[in-house]
């Protein structure tokens, strides 16, 4: 039986899942990170522990949560934590990786979820604000950024720094007093990126099938670093994994319908 190839959101969810190792403690935000994490748990990483900022963690399997505070996020959890203590788990070294999205990402993995436009009191658009985003990237050992890539969403300069990644590159993150390694990967519908170890600038790690460096650069408002040698093609989801994603993880296509509903 043939399985339709992954749409861009399904591809994103799959790549997110591949960034999770079994037995990790994974702090998940709403949307694709949640889909990818649940996919990982249902495939190669059955022993991960999911942690949510509303306080739930380690729920038993259930339907796809609609929100980070859905009953499914703390479904018969062995514990629920107050919000302050849930973030403290990250600060205290009890979270391995956090996944988060943003309206804007810059070349150092700094994130903006506050405003579009450069006048705070009269923005083109006021967005949600930080939520737990600033806390997770400031406290967690490793952060993976997930989102759709366009030149506007990957600008040369953020309209507002909500969540500090590598700040101005080099050692600036550490000098600022932040914990952990900061962002270690960026996952988009175009490719996967890491951060060059010295400058901490965003660098292509792999590109999705059919994407060239030129296309990736055209989708980016700053100069992407390109690694030496041949650029790997991102692994695509095998049919059995796609079927799990479509039939078990998000059967109502709340998050993986494309175009989004």
């Amino acid at each position: 039986m043939s399985v339709a190839p992954a749409n861009p959101l399904e591809m994103l969810a799959y790549v997110v899942s591949r960034h999770i190792k079994d037995k990790q403690i994974v702090y998940v935000g709403t949307g694709l990170p949640m889909v990818g994490a649940i996919l990982a748990k249902k495939t190669h990483a059955p022993n991960i522990t999911l942690v949510y900022e509303s306080g739930g963690q380690d729920p038993i399997e259930g339907p796809m949560p609609w929100s980070v505070a859905d009953p499914v996020t703390w479904r018969k959890s062995p514990i629920t934590m107050e919000m302050a203590l849930s973030f403290a788990q990250a600060a205290n070294g009890y979270v391995d990786v956090a996944f988060q999205g943003a309206a804007q990402v810059d070349m150092y993995g700094n994130l903006n979820t506050h405003i579009i436009g450069n006048d705070f009191l009269n923005p083109k658009a006021r967005l949600t604000g930080s939520g737990g985003g600033n806390d997770l990237i400031s406290l967690t050992e490793n952060t993976v950024i997930v989102g759709l890539q366009t030149p506007e969403k990957f600008p040369a300069k953020l309209d507002f720094i909500t969540s500090p990644g590598h700040l101005y590159g080099g050692n600036s993150r550490k000098e600022a007093g932040l914990l952990g390694n900061g962002p270690v990967a960026v996952i988009t519908q175009i490719g996967v990126y890491d951060f060059e170890p010295v400058t901490k600038r965003m660098r292509i790690k792999s590109l999705h099938p059919g994407i060239t460096v030129e296309i990736a650069q055209a989708c980016t408002g700053f100069e992407l670093l390109v690694p030496e040698g041949e650029i790997p093609v991102t692994e695509t989801p095998p049919p059995d994994v796609l079927e799990v994603l479509r039939n078990e993880v998000d059967p109502q296509k709340i998050f993986i319908a494309f175009p989004p509903r």
Binding site: P71, E82, A84, F120, L121, T128
Partner: protein, 365 residues
């Protein structure tokens, strides 16, 4: 008016706050202590109606804290009553503070202490964006969820302030007059930390599943910031799905989270978290939120917003009217079953989260 506190001048300038004394009450621990000292100390029956509680305890200009988590165990029906009573110029705070945008159009809320407004993947709150641009709301401070949660925790702990690793190096510190990034005095090496003062909102409604008539209360599911808010706020009103005998709570010592002495009023308010989720009792109305975002929070012409809140708030006298509009007993039973199935306490075969559209589709007029 002279302020008693030292604020970040850059943030005052960026936010165009000319009279910083409006900021004081949120961090004035001594005045919160005095308010707490004046509360009734005996075990008296504190029950009253929601109308009475809102009349007596919500004053124009109060700092009003959003409790629960957006649409989980949040006292939305109390908030709707606050809107109906025409309270004015409230400062909204909460982590998240999603629900405080609803009343801006009506003047209920005029000031924001922001952490997160919006409905996650269901969309951003464009009506708030519009209110910001039209200066109908004035932002007083920007926070991360974690830093604000720690501010409430500091208050609960009787700690005037604490240091954390959130907020550092973000632009939020330029738009938050309260927090200060300083060097950790315990370390020889440079180690910047962000100081967060203890936060004392004026008034909070906390919706719980079970309370006794004195105010002792028990929560099922995530408590989020509510235990801290109950200790911190000057005025605390419990709204409860059920009022149980004190002896019931005395049998669940380790599960109860709010002691009676913190509580000013107890309101028996079944369905008080609607259209949100009350853990163990009922699932939220997905349809309400989908349409709320498409209509009330769309940022389109105000007539859509007004038609939505007219229908759901101003033409309802109480939560029972509201529940009838959602679909009455049929809706209720379905969402009780869904909730328990999602809690893992009912059989979960065939949970159906789809919905028939019972809500008028104003934006398709």
């Amino acid at each position: 008016m002279a302020s008693k506190f030292e604020y970040n001048q850059e943030a005052l300038k960026n936010l165009q706050i000319e009279d910083p004394s409006i900021l004081d009450r949120l961090i004035d621990g001594e005045s919160a202590r005095q308010a707490h000292l004046k509360k009734e100390r005996g075990k008296v029956d504190k029950r009253m109606s929601l109308k009475e509680a809102v009349q007596e305890f919500v004053k124009d200009g109060d700092i009003y804290a959003d409790s629960g988590f957006s649409y989980v165990r949040t006292p939305l029906q109390a908030l709707f009553e606050v809107m109906r009573q025409g309270k004015k110029n409230l400062q909204g705070i909460g982590s998240p503070n999603t629900n405080h945008s609803y009343g801006i159009h009506y003047g209920t809320f005029k000031y924001s202490h922001n952490s997160y407004l919006g409905a996650e993947m269901r969309g951003t709150d464009r009506s708030y964006s519009k209110a910001v641009k039209e200066k109908k709301v004035k932002i007083l401070s920007e926070w991360s969820h974690g830093a604000m949660a720690l501010g409430f925790k500091a208050a609960q702990l009787g700690a005037p302030y604490l240091a954390c690793k959130s907020m550092i190096a973000s632009d939020m510190v330029k738009y938050n007059p309260y927090v200060k990034v300083v060097d950790n005095p315990f370390k020889k090496e440079k180690d910047p930390v962000c100081l967060v003062p203890a936060l004392y909102p004026d008034v909070v409604f906390i919706h719980v599943q079970w309370a006794d008539k004195y105010g002792n209360a028990r929560i099922y599911g995530p408590a989020v910031n509510d235990i801290a808010l109950a200790a911190a706020c000057r005025k605390v009103i419990i709204t409860a799905e059920e009022i149980v005998p004190e002896s019931d709570l005395r049998n669940t010592t380790n599960t109860n989270v709010i002691p009676f002495m913190f509580v000013d009023a107890v309101v028996h308010l079944p369905y008080g978290a609607l259209p949100g989720n009350c853990p163990g009792y009922y699932y939220w109305s997905r349809e309400f939120w989908e349409w709320g975002i498409r209509i009330a929070l769309s940022g389109k012409d105000d007539k859509y917003l007004e038609s939505f809140w007219d229908y759901w708030v101003f033409s309802c006298k109480d939560q029972f009217d509201f529940l009838e509009k959602l679909g009455g007993v049929r809706w209720l039973n379905k969402h009780q079953v869904i909730e328990r199935a999602l809690n893992g306490t009912n059989e979960d075969d065939g949970i159906d989260l789809s919905y028939e559209s019972v809500i008028p589709k104003w934006d398709e007029e």
